[in-house]
Symmetry: C2
Subunit: 126 residues, 2 copies
């Protein structure tokens, strides 16, 4: 059994093109021996966002705090708040935005595909 508290998991500021004001906390990943999927917590500053992007991995999100918009391929937006759960299918285009006044925090799970580690995306094309 592995136990970590969010407050002890270091944050990594994501500096990918098209991302702004997002910090990732890689809580349970391949580094911890997780065999199939990873649990991360993503934090967005007010005004923070990801790019509109896709990858072969699906997401299952649980929104903890704040007010988010999740944008789809056609530009439609779904609003998410504490208690919202969103499934994004493999290859589905998506974007997360913090549209609230405070920090937006979300549990972001992702499969660990062959060649992946649960931290980065874009694996599984083998």
């Amino acid at each position: 059994m592995i136990h970590k508290h969010l407050s002890q998991v270091p944050g990594t500021v994501i500096e990918k093109s098209g991302f702004r004001g997002m910090t990732a906390r890689f809580a349970l990943t391949a580094d911890d021996g997780c065999p199939r999927y990873a649990m991360r917590v993503m934090e967005f500053e007010p005004g923070g966002y990801t790019s509109l992007h896709s990858h072969p991995e699906e997401h299952e999100f649980y929104f903890l705090e704040g007010k988010a918009a999740v944008v789809g391929a056609d530009g439609s937006e779904v609003e998410a708040t504490s208690g919202s759960m969103i499934y994004v299918a493999p290859g589905e285009v998506h974007q997360l935005k913090n549209i609230g006044c405070g920090t937006m925090r979300v549990v972001c799970t992702i499969p660990i595909l062959p060649g992946g580690d649960g931290k980065t995306t874009g694996h599984g094309y083998e």
Copy 2:
């Protein structure tokens, strides 16, 4: 994209032997097209618990609310509160108990193994 709010996901009272005061909300499962793992939210009344049990599926927990004890095979207990994340390996014996005064709520993820649906456990022995 699928969006559900916890308040809209019906609860199922778990009446398995050795379980008490536990309600499962099966939020994102094989029924929703999730291909690899499922997201459920488990709620425990004060004094509620699971049995000390194991199954071939691992768990990755994110604790939302309340005060929990997670018991291991040797009887040792790990305390978990909001922001705690716990990994239980495939086949590892574990028990969850609500040791607080209010509802204990936890995001409970689990792989969907062959023959499984993300709701029940004990699959994968194929």
